[in-house]
């Protein structure tokens, strides 16, 4: 009974229905090979959505994820172009560090500069995107300018799974452990759930807010490298508009923009829902231009449903108290 009531279960059923509907129109959609492709394609969204989710948990939002991703991606691609000797694992590590620094900058402004997250990241979104342009001087880094190991990194297969998916799974598992089983993780939930209470309990608000932006940035950095390597090109408008997809994945997954609620499983399912949608549109002969509209519509509907559900559960709590 409890299972059926949960958001994740509803979402799971929704995804099954979604797949069935698509398959009715295009039977070839339902194959293991195709599904593997969709998972590979959504791997980056899984990760960045988790980063976004942690920020949203603290009642913040990070609009700079896509720009941070693009800036890191461009940096490592240029590094690879001009210093092909640097091993790929080193580049991977470096991308995490660059991303963390970019995220930390957001975190510093939010926690120590007292600027609301939406304004901070609206600003850094343009700053980072502009820096991509400055760094690349407007040019792309194309496949032939990258080393073979750099390009093929995400396609390495281990037990039939591509490396990009495996890295994504590792990120999902690591952050699940972090959010559910460590003290800091629980503090992140606490900050968004009830900021005043969290402060009285002795949680360092500034530290937590700084941390979530830093971690989100680190994930974006890693994703930037994976994105550039997977698509074998670093462009000025890499991942443009991607921040909206990550927010959409979170709210579809049941995360409340007001903070403090939602689960990693929900967010991953939300991302999967979007990933399937994105891959299904061309298969069922719908122009990809529809994606943005559908996404916006889904965000609005999901937010409204979340709010109504929250209000209901609050009324339930009040009613129980009266009993």
């Amino acid at each position: 009974m409890n299972l059926i009531k949960r958001r994740e279960f509803t979402l799971f059923v929704l995804i099954i229905i979604q797949i069935l509907l698509i398959t009715l129109r295009a039977p070839r959609f339902l194959s293991i090979l195709n599904f593997n492709d969709i998972l590979d394609d959504t791997a980056i969204l899984f990760m960045v959505a988790i980063g976004q989710f942690m920020v949203i948990l603290t009642a913040g939002i990070d609009l700079s994820v896509a720009s941070g991703l693009a800036l890191t991606g461009m940096s490592v691609a240029l590094l690879n172009q001009y210093h092909p000797g640097i091993p790929v694992l080193m580049i991977l590590l470096l991308s995490i560090i660059i991303g963390f620094l970019l995220g930390s900058f957001n975190g510093l402004l939010v926690s120590y500069g007292n600027i609301p997250p939406i304004i901070t990241t609206l600003g850094t979104m343009s700053i980072y995107r502009g820096l991509v342009f400055v760094l690349s001087k407007g040019a792309w880094v194309s496949a032939h300018e990258m080393t073979e190991t750099f390009r093929s990194f995400t396609r390495i297969k281990i037990f039939g799974l591509s490396l990009i998916l495996i890295i994504s799974l590792i990120v999902i598992i690591l952050f699940s452990i972090f959010l559910y089983y460590t003290r800091t993780g629980r503090e992140i939930y606490g900050v968004g759930g009830n900021t005043t209470a969290a402060q009285y309990v002795g949680i360092n608000l500034k530290k937590i807010k700084y941390l979530v932006f830093g971690l989100c940035g680190a994930i974006c950095g890693l994703s930037g490298f994976l994105w550039v390597a997977r698509y074998a090109s670093a462009q000025n408008d890499t991942a443009i508009g991607f921040e909206l997809q990550t927010v959409a994945a979170c709210v579809i997954g049941g995360a409340s923009i007001a903070g403090g609620s939602g689960s990693i499983l929900g967010v991953v399912l939300g991302a999967l829902f979007l990933g399937i949608l994105k891959n299904a549109l061309p298969v069922i002969n719908v122009s990809p231009f529809w994606q943005m509209l559908i996404q916006g519509f889904i965000i609005l509907v999901a937010i409204i449903i979340n709010t109504i559900m929250n209000q209901r559960s609050q009324q339930l709590i009040i009613r129980r108290r009266e009993l």
Partner: protein
């Protein structure tokens, strides 16, 4: 002495500085015709900045406004291909804007959802509609009389129609904000929505009105912009939400709500407008200008707090020294 450290004074000195630098870069900058024509570049944004002052003072935010411009522009373009006359296009532009703003306001106030969340969704929805209608194409067929709004001058003078429209709007908005009860209510909502509600202010309806007004002005801006560039692409006005919010915040409107005035924003509009124009004179690419806008937005919020801290520490010291005497 107090006016010396007022935000508007600081802004105005920066404005004078920009004028001096610009006229040093180019001897033609201070030319009357050039100054008048340079306003074409930022009047559309300026007209949206006015209602956004209301939005931010009442403690909300609207990041869907650039998408509303795209939506209005696409509907006007669509109507134009069906042979709708100029007055019809203007009507469609305004109504689309009002509708989009009203939708934002309804979802925000009726379901009690933070404006950030709703306008992120509608930002994607409105621009999504523009992409669905246009795809990779563009509307370029507009009646020739439609060009007046974005390119025309008043009579035989060199004063652009846009500038005059902006001045009229500014006067109306300044009167509403500073000398009507509605204006005082908007400040009250921004300072403390709960207290405002208990004082009998229809908080939800006023917020709804403010969002509808933003939609309406976005519609007007869309008419001006579409008329000026004579074409509609789905990515029209991309990134304007950042520039407009930057303008308003730099004008001294507190992002936390309840504080700010029209005068500061007016100075900020011309400061940023001429700054961008000057950067254009020395061939700074648009994307690099965006780095500048973003940095300015952050500094504009950090600086007042920094100044306040210094002031407080000075007055603390004074109290201390007085206490010792």
């Amino acid at each position: 002495m107090d006016w010396l450290i007022r935000w508007e004074t600081i802004l105005f000195s920066m404005f004078v500085l920009v004028i001096i630098i610009n006229s040093n870069i180019s001897p033609y900058f201070l030319d009357y015709i050039n100054i008048m024509n340079s306003t074409f570049n930022f009047m559309e944004k300026a007209i949206i900045a006015l209602p956004v002052i209301f939005v931010i003072i009442s403690g909300d935010i609207d990041i869907s406004l650039a998408s509303i411009i795209a939506l209005c522009s696409v509907f006007m373009g669509l109507a134009s291909t069906f042979g709708v006359e100029t007055w019809g296009l203007v009507l469609i532009g305004c109504l689309t804007g009002i509708g989009a703003g009203f939708l934002n306001g309804m979802i925000i106030t009726r379901f009690n959802i933070p404006a950030i969340a709703v306008t992120i969704g509608s930002m994607s929805l409105f621009r999504g509609i523009a992409y669905v209608v246009l795809g990779d194409k563009a509307f370029t067929q507009y009646p020739s009389s439609f060009a007046f709004f974005g390119q025309g001058y008043i009579g035989h003078t060199r004063i652009p129609f846009q500038l005059v429209l902006f001045i009229i709007f500014t006067v109306i908005f300044a009167i509403i904000l500073h000398s009507t009860t509605l204006g005082r209510k908007i400040y009250a909502i921004g300072n403390n929505p709960t207290a405002a509600r208990f004082s009998g202010i229809p908080v939800h309806n006023i917020r709804l009105l403010v969002f509808t007004l933003t939609g309406f002005c976005s519609g007007i801006a869309s008419i001006l912009l579409t008329s000026r560039i004579g074409s509609t692409r789905p990515n029209i006005a991309d990134g304007w939400e950042l520039e407009i919010i930057t303008t308003v915040v730099l004008g001294g409107v507190a992002i936390t709500g309840g504080k700010g005035n029209i005068l500061g924003v007016i100075i900020s509009i011309f400061l940023l407008g001429f700054l961008r124009f000057g950067m254009g004179l020395v061939n700074v690419p648009g994307k690099v200008m965006n780095i500048f806008s973003g940095t300015l937005l952050i500094i504009a919020i950090l600086l007042p707090e920094f100044i306040r801290n210094i002031r407080e520490s000075i007055s603390l010291k004074r109290e201390k020294s007085q206490g010792e005497v």
